[in-house]
Amino acid sequence: MSDKLKQIINKQSEQQIGTTEHSADIVQLVGFIIGEEEYAVPILTIQEIIKPIRWTRVPQTPAYVLGVFNLRGSVIPLIDLRTKFGLRPLKHSDETRFFVLKQGDEVAGFVIDRLTMAIRIKKSDIGAAPDTIAADDSMIAGVGKQAGRILTILKVDKLLARDF
């Protein structure tokens, strides 16, 4: 009797592990374009994606910090990823978006050139960043491969960390 019970319990727990494994196996990302490359961040770190709005310049900051903007009553920093990645700044177009990322209490908006799509990708399809840039202070969490394209997955905590 107790054996049977154990078996059932074991089975149940196995199933549970199975399902959690299944969902843990898939990573959901949102892809976007900066310059020529496609990047992605985990979907749960995105608070919202908005069309460009007015912002205020903040002095004494690096060029990639555009300033601050008002998001429904909160003052949020705005960072230009093009400039941060060493690309020439571009005039905002109809496709430009502000990505508002959030981790813990830290919130910041990032200017991206274009949104691509929400992506579900298997964990096994994500490789480590190339050794040369895999250092701890790198902003790259990994490289995802899917249907002939390559996604650079960014570390959100590094993006949100102040580095000046």
Partner: protein, 796 residues
């Protein structure tokens, strides 16, 4: 279990409140050892804590308080003289009691703190007081008493069986006394009820709207037996003491309610949002008024807007008041501190406190404590001299430190005066040079006041001998930073041999402040109004350059100037006009003139943090959201003054060339913009002007015209503007254009079918120089344009 927690919470709150009062009472007691009222009050505290803690099974605390009670009991029966030594032990035991209570608060148990030593000392005092009538043999008083105490501890109620005859008598007397006290309190309550208890000491009672009227006579808190102070104090204090129990009467207690601070904070945040929304509403109202001038619903809208803004302001004040605490909460700990310090330093110091019921925002009350401790310690250590020096200098033996608080406008002032040796500016300068804080050349030009400010420099310490009290070289600079963090300012005055007077001026609240909004180029900044002394309009030739710094003459003073654009790296795309505005900033004794392009106005702003990512940007204290939804940065005046020192003069002398009109060599060098939403009208104007040969640029509405101007591809000599246009009308466009210094002198010509007088007036107000009404003749338009662009006749 929950019930127990609840009781425990109440017990802790009550105990901490009692202890706060206790500290002050004890110090007073030392100066008036035979004040029975005072002694009884103190005794009751020990007794209450003992009773409650034994009920809650905190044995260590019970043990300690019991022994304290013993000593105090003896004292109030006159069996024990309160000497400084006795006081030391009693105060020590109260400190222990405090740490025990904190421990109970943190861990719900009173273990881990050793009270044995202190209890022994307490016993020694109560036992060895030389009470001849005690039947207990002198040889073993401690052991005996200990036994008795253990019993008492376990049973809470005094065990009358195991008491000696005298002790029983003492207990009876105590109970009688207590009864008498109660009667007395009741009587006092009756009297007080008739006259609203104004003299009560700062109790956390319902004082929300009680304005802190400055007390006529400061209540001196003598630290050591000082007949003068004692005599003066006695009357006041007696009154206060008599009234004190009245505030504990149940009817009064019911009028207050304890609220979690988090709720108040949340409320304050919501009010902040409301203030922003109100600002926005006001702005929209103005816009609507402009657009729908004369419409009937405007009046109604106006009424609503003004009611909303009025109520918001009242609400804000009301919520601010709920967060107010009397500063006495902070002041209370100083009598004790001064007492300890004066004993440690062998000085005689008395502290006079007044205005302790002045109220301040809770967050400020919490922050102000440490800076005050530093300042008062410094006064004791460096300011007040030892008694012999004082006597030799012909001063009273007792040094006096006065601590007072009072309201001044929208701020509270805390003033700390001492009658010590004062600050010697020369000595300060020499010392600063020695320590490399300033150079000799700098020292020469310092005024006395600026020299006093040297004590706030990091790494400065004036005491020759380093003591445990102060003189670690940190302190005053930390004080300054802390005060400035609160948007406050420090002002020092001093005279050698007379003393020092320090004034801390602190805003009543932190979250919402009045600010002056200034414009530079296309950007706006908010300057806390508390630091703005005045604003002046100057012309460029009033700015002089001295030693690579811009200065101007302001009445009898020379004011150093810095351009806000130089500090905040503002790109000078637009040229500033002939005139500029100087905002005179004052922080303590230092002054600075900040050159800005425009003054926008005064506004109530809500300070918002910019998050960790942008925290601590030099010169920026935070951000606020304006009525139009945009973000405006708030200037950190203290940091700005620091930055200004490093900024060399370029002020505004250069780039006048940009605006100087290039010499016109042919007719097509003249550029005129035509702004009209009707294509036909644009065509008519074009036809009228084409014959002149000037270059014409067309825009379909105000917004488009503004964009063309902003791009800066053309240098226009004049603009023809229609009034009624979609997106942005002519008046607004004119107003916008005039905001840019570059276009201050650009002639704007209104071309419209609106002929009313008020329309003309508005045209003039928004900066139009001419007003042409449709229909017009081609020649007339042409001549008006020629006149305004200074068209050279040879091109005709």
């Amino acid at each position: 279990m929950d019930e127990f927690q609840e009781i425990l919470q109440d017990f802790l709150v009550e105990s901490f409140e009692l202890i706060e009062q206790l500290d002050q009472d004890l110090v007073e007691l030392e100066s008036r050892p035979d004040d029975l009222e005072l002694l009884n009050g103190i005794f009751r505290v020990a007794h209450t804590v003992k009773g409650a803690s034994s009920f809650l099974n905190f044995d260590v605390l019970t043990h300690l308080t019991h022994h304290m009670e013993d000593v105090l009991n003896k004292a109030r029966h006159g069996e024990l003289a309160i000497t400084a030594e006795v006081m030391d032990v009693v105060l020590e035991s109260i400190d222990l009691m405090k740490s025990l209570l904190s421990r109970i608060r943190d861990t719900s148990s009173d273990g881990g703190i050793e009270v044995g030593e202190c209890v022994k000392r307490l016993d020694k005092i109560s036992g060895g007081s030389g009470d001849v009538h005690t039947p207990v043999s002198v040889a073993a008083p401690i052991v005996e008493e200990k036994l008795v105490e253990e019993l008492k501890v376990n049973q809470d109620e005094p065990d009358y069986d195991s008491m000696g005859a005298d002790e029983v008598e003492a207990e009876i007397e105590r109970l009688l006394k207590e009864r008498q006290d109660q009667d007395k309190a009741k009587r006092a309550a009756k009297i007080a009820a008739g006259e609203s208890v104004p003299e009560a000491p700062p109790e956390p009672m319902d004082e929300v709207e009680a304005k802190p009227a400055p007390k006529p006579a400061p209540v001196p808190v003598a630290v050591q037996a000082s007949p003068r102070a004692a005599a003066r104090a006695k009357q006041d204090e007696d009154d206060a003491k008599a009234a004190a129990p009245a505030t504990r009467a149940p009817t009064v207690v019911e009028q207050t309610i304890r609220v979690d601070v988090k709720r108040l904070d949340h409320l304050m945040n919501l009010i902040g949002e409301l203030v922003l929304a109100k600002n926005r509403l006001i702005k929209i109202n103005v816009d609507v008024e402009e657009r729908y001038e004369g419409e009937e619903f405007l009046e109604e809208l106006n009424q609503v807007v003004s009611i909303v803004s009025l109520v918001t302001t009242d609400l804000q004040i009301a919520v601010m008041k709920t967060r107010m605490l009397p500063i006495g909460k902070v002041f209370n700990k100083f009598p004790r501190m001064i007492r300890d310090l004066s004993r440690e330093l062998n000085k005689k110091i008395e502290l006079e406190i007044s205005g302790e019921d002045t109220e301040l925002d809770k967050s400020i009350v919490e922050e102000i404590g440490d800076p005050l401790v530093h300042i008062i310690r410094n006064s004791c250590d460096h300011g007040v001299e030892t008694p012999d020096i004082r006597l030799a200098a012909g001063k009273a033996e007792f040094g006096t430190i006065t601590l007072k608080a009072y309201n001044e406008g929208n701020a509270i002032v805390i003033q700390i005066d001492d009658d010590g040796k004062g600050l010697d500016p020369e000595m300060l300068k020499n010392k600063s040079i020695e320590k490399g804080i300033i150079t000799e050349a700098e020292a020469d030009v310092l005024s006395d006041k600026e020299a006093f400010a040297l004590i706030f420099k990091p790494g400065f310490s004036t005491a020759a001998a380093v003591t445990s009290v102060s003189g670690r070289g940190v302190g005053m600079d930390v004080v300054k930073t802390n005060i400035e963090k609160l948007n406050g300012i420090i002002d020092i005055e001093s005279e050698i041999g007379i003393g020092i007077s320090m004034k801390l001026k602190i805003p009543l609240t932190l979250a919402i402040i009045q600010a002056l909004l200034v414009g530079v180029q296309e950007e706006h900044y908010a300057i806390p109004l508390a630091s703005v002394l005045e604003t002046v309009r100057i012309s460029k030739d009033e700015i002089y350059t001295v030693e690579n710094r811009s200065v101007m003459r302001l009445r009898d003073d020379v004011l150093s100037l810095v351009h806000i654009g130089d500090i905040f790296e503002v790109e000078r795309i637009l040229d500033s006009g002939e005139h500029a505005y100087v905002v005179v900033l004052g922080l303590g004794s230092s002054k600075l003139g900040l050159i800005v392009d425009t003054l926008v106005g005064q506004e109530e702003i809500v300070i918002k943090s910019m998050g960790d990512y942008l925290k601590g940007i030099e010169g920026i204290a935070g951000a606020t959201i304006r009525g139009d939804g945009g973000v405006t940065l708030i200037v950190d005046v203290a940091a700005l003054m620091q930055i200004a020192k490093g900024v060399k003069a370029k002020a505004m002398v250069e780039d006048t060339s940009a605006s100087s009109k290039r010499e016109k060599s042919r007719a097509s060098d003249y550029k005129v913009m035509i702004v009209d939403d009707s294509k036909t009208d644009r065509m008519i104007m074009r036809k009228a002007l084409e014959s002149l040969g000037v270059t014409l640029v067309e825009a379909g509405d105000g917004q488009e015209a503004l964009n063309i101007l902003k791009q800066g591809d053309h240098n226009f000599d004049a603009m023809l503007i229609d009034i009624e246009m979609p997106r942005m009308d002519g008046y607004t466009l004119a107003g916008e254009i005039k905001k840019y210094n570059k276009y201050k002198n650009l002639p704007l010509i209104a071309v419209t079918s609106r002929t009313g007088k008020s329309d003309r007036m508005r045209g003039v107000e928004s900066g139009m120089v001419e007003y042409i009404t449709k229909p017009y003749s081609a020649d007339y338009l042409s001549s008006v344009v020629q006149r305004n662009v200074n068209f050279k006749s040879e091109f005709l």
